[in-house]
């Protein structure tokens, strides 16, 4: 009889949620019961909101997914689902809102296969695309890529087939394929999840790219902060070599190709392709002027094709199923799907993949289940530090490169953060700007100095020290920074400021004119006060205040010393009698 297969989502967040303990528990219990099952460690299944997540496939049946599997639930699943065949708590319905609108291409294998076992990839049509390609002329592969309409998922959206063609046309004896796995957007983890969950799809695509453009060497530039992805990638490379997919004379095609790993070292700007190339050459990761483009003069001065992880992960499926299939998904200008890391004030955070053209509303309110708690939706941020915040008005925007730009944000690499009433938009703008300041390489003055001045102006607003004329200055300076910076970092760094200023103008004005922060987030503008009528003297706030800023005897009305208060908000959240208010 076939075994039951139990899969455990062991991406970074799964591991952090204790999935290993759950796996151990299953292992122990099932061997005690002599229950024949195969336990598999996979990458992210996407249900980050319900970690630890597992899936169980009984022989001859469809897989069933379970969320929030703690020890108790695990025992319940063993006793009732496995042994008696009964339904149990925690089943994630396959046709539920979270899954219904999704369509998986890049994430197809993530959470389904054991990333450390190449056979599982091969069993799911892995390396078939490569086998097909080596029987085709390289030009034919490129024309398939062009026909598919695939565009770069790293943020730029440049047509991938065209980039391959440009690199193929550059004459040189040596060329390189580079996979950009630097993933800089803070609050996004799509690329890492792909590498953790399905590294072979990226490797296969790099080989196909090498074959098409005439390169024999590939490099993966990955952040050193991703130890799990690095180790799974190394294992995958080793196995691909053993099976003859990498190395000399691949599949008797007389084509040879191999891949090396290069490590980033914590610099966001190195995600920019020219900076990335300098970093791989052992230098400071400073961008340089384009042209020449990497496709003409890249790594070691040779033609280099730089592709993002998610871009690559789409390619084997495109070759297998044909460009027409891929081009039939999505919108007029943006084909296929996009992966998003959905997070923030939302019920179901997770890693999702939707066809281009899906609206923000569908993603946030159907897939994501809407806002957590009783608060109201305020904005959604896409595009990370280069993007913007979109208000309710834009919720019906269909997602593709053009529509998001038009709305005042951008696609970016796939971070999507949902904000509610408790989020101050001026502070959000400050947050992203601070990131850009930290990460500016310092080469151009507008980016290095301009952003700092911009930040100080925002700080004056959140401190309640600004006046209305500052808003115009902010706009003017933003435009100068955008127009005069060399690379994409500087050129886009004021976007979060401009988009919030444009869509949440009133909030800026409230800070300036009324010294009022709707979200109660700007510390300089808020004061915690105890309402005497409501205070019962229960002492909870007094005992929990970390800086002893509250005094009062048991049974008496308590008082907060404003000059000692650090505005941590602990007392506010602890008082059961709503006696503490924010002024």
């Amino acid at each position: 009889m076939e075994n039951t297969i139990i899969k455990f989502a062991m991406g970074t967040c799964g591991i952090a949620s204790g999935t290993q303990d759950i796996l151990n528990l299953f292992d122990k219990e099932l061997s005690r019961l002599n229950y024949p099952a195969q336990l598999v460690k996979t990458g992210c299944m996407g249900h980050c909101y319900a970690e630890p997540t597992i899936s169980i496939t009984l022989p001859g049946r469809e897989p069933v997914y379970f969320g929030n599997v703690n020890e108790e639930r695990a025992r319940d699943i063993i006793d009732h689902f496995l042994l008696k065949g009964d339904k149990t708590e925690g089943i994630i319905p396959p046709e539920g809102d979270f899954s219904k609108k999704q369509f998986k291409i890049a994430l197809k294998n993530c959470g389904e296969i054991d990333p450390e076992n190449i056979q599982e990839y091969i069993d799911r049509e892995g390396y078939k695309a490569l086998m097909k390609c080596v029987t085709m002329k390289p030009e034919k592969v490129i024309s398939e890529m062009k026909a598919s309409g695939l565009r770069g998922r790293g943020g730029g959206g440049y047509p991938t087939g065209l980039k391959w063609e440009n690199t193929r046309k550059s004459k040189s004896d040596v060329k390189y394929v580079v996979c950009n796995a630097d993933e800089g957007d803070p609050g996004a983890f799509m690329d890492r999840s792909v590498l953790e969950g399905d590294p072979h799809s990226v490797i296969e695509a790099m080989i196909i790219c090498g074959y098409s453009i005439g390169a024999n060497k590939g490099l993966v530039y990955i952040r050193a902060e991703y130890p799990l992805a690095i180790s799974r990638l190394k294992t995958a490379l080793h196995q691909a070599r053993e099976q003859g997919f990498l190395g000399e004379n691949i599949l008797n095609s007389r084509f040879s190709f191999d891949i090396e790993i290069r490590y980033g070292a914590g610099a966001f700007v190195c995600g920019e392709e020219t900076a990335l190339i300098h970093s791989m050459e052992g230098m400071r990761g400073e961008p340089t002027f384009k042209p020449p483009y990497p496709s003409v003069k890249g790594y070691m001065g040779k033609p280099t094709c730089v592709n993002n992880v998610e871009t690559l992960a789409n390619i084997p499926a495109i070759i297998r199923n044909g460009s027409e299939w891929f081009a039939s998904i999505g919108t007029a200008t943006s084909k296929g799907t996009k992966v998003f890391a959905l997070a923030g004030k939302i019920k179901r955070t997770g890693l999702i993949e939707v066809p281009m053209g899906t609206t923000l509303r569908e993603i946030i309110f159907e897939i994501g289940g809407g806002i957590k708690g009783i608060k109201k939706f305020k904005a959604v941020q896409t595009g990370g530090p280069s993007g913007g915040c979109l208000s309710e008005k834009y919720l019906d925007t269909p997602i593709d490169y053009e529509h998001l730009l038009e709305a005042g944000s951008m696609m970016g690499s796939g971070g999507m953060i949902v904000l509610d009433e408790d989020d101050c938009m001026v502070s959000m703008a400050k947050f992203y700007l601070e990131f850009s300041i930290d990460e500016s390489c310092g080469k151009c003055a507008p980016c290095r100095i301009g952003n700092k001045r911009l930040y100080e102006m925002l700080e004056r607003i959140t401190d309640g020290k600004a006046n209305m004329s500052d808003l115009q200055k902010i706009k003017d300076l933003s435009v100068v920074i955008k127009d005069t910076s060399l690379c994409g970092l500087g050129q886009t760094s004021p976007n979060p400021v401009l988009s919030t200023l444009n869509q949440f103008h009133d909030e800026y004005v409230a800070h300036i004119d009324e010294h009022f922060c709707h979200a109660h987030q700007c510390k300089e503008l808020i004061h915690y006060v105890i309402v005497a009528d409501k205070c019962t003297g229960c002492t909870v706030c007094f005992r929990n205040c970390p800086v002893e800023a509250i005094y009062g005897d048991k049974g008496e009305v308590h008082t907060i010393l404003d000059n000692q208060c650090i505005k941590c908000g602990i007392c506010f959240s602890k008082c059961k009698f709503n006696a503490i208010i924010i002024n």
């Binding site: 970074t12 591991i15 803070p186 990761g285 004030k345 989020d423």
Partner: protein
């Protein structure tokens, strides 16, 4: 200039040799050197520069450019507060403030007893557990300012056990 132990020097020479003394491998060399030695003071940089046949300033320029490299030794435990967007909107700033206040160090600083270094990072990929604090390979999720003291105490105890 403080002198480097003979063992460390030998290690660096071998390390550079492993990378064919190729200057383009500088970042790989630095990663491995920091893994082994814990940090990259100028003495270490000087040896590497010599072995790769490049100016000291080139090495220094690279070490200071990348935030992953450090020129000062770190504490026994590196407390990293995630300041990625998802964690930020869930209040990671308050967590950071509380760590700063209790440990009496700034970001990047090490406590006087050498136990803790306080640092920030951007998204560890556990956004669903935001706000997140990681210490070594352990990830704490849904951290509140009130939990900060408990976390510190737990590790002070660990440090004493190690003693």
């Amino acid at each position: 200039m403080a002198t480097l132990s003979e063992n460390s020097r030998k290690f660096l020479v071998e390390l550079c040799k492993k990378y064919r003394n190729d200057e383009h491998e500088l970042i790989n060399v630095l990663h491995e050197a920091q893994d082994e030695l814990g940090y990259l003071p100028v003495e270490v940089q000087h040896v590497i520069a010599g072995e790769l046949n490049i100016p000291d300033a080139r090495v220094y320029g690279v070490v200071t450019f990348y935030s992953f490299f450090t020129m000062v030794p770190k504490g026994k435990f590196d407390i990293s507060i995630c300041m990625g967007t998802a964690c930020y909107v869930k209040g990671s700033e308050l967590i950071l403030d509380e760590f700063k206040r209790r440990l009496k160090v700034k970001v990047g600083g090490t406590t006087e007893d050498g136990i803790f270094t306080l640092s920030t990072l951007r998204c560890v990929g556990a956004c669903s557990l935001a706000p997140v604090v990681s210490i070594g390979s352990k990830v704490f999720g849904n951290v509140t300012p009130l939990q900060v003291k408990k976390i510190i105490d737990e590790y002070v105890e660990k440090a004493e056990e190690l003693h």
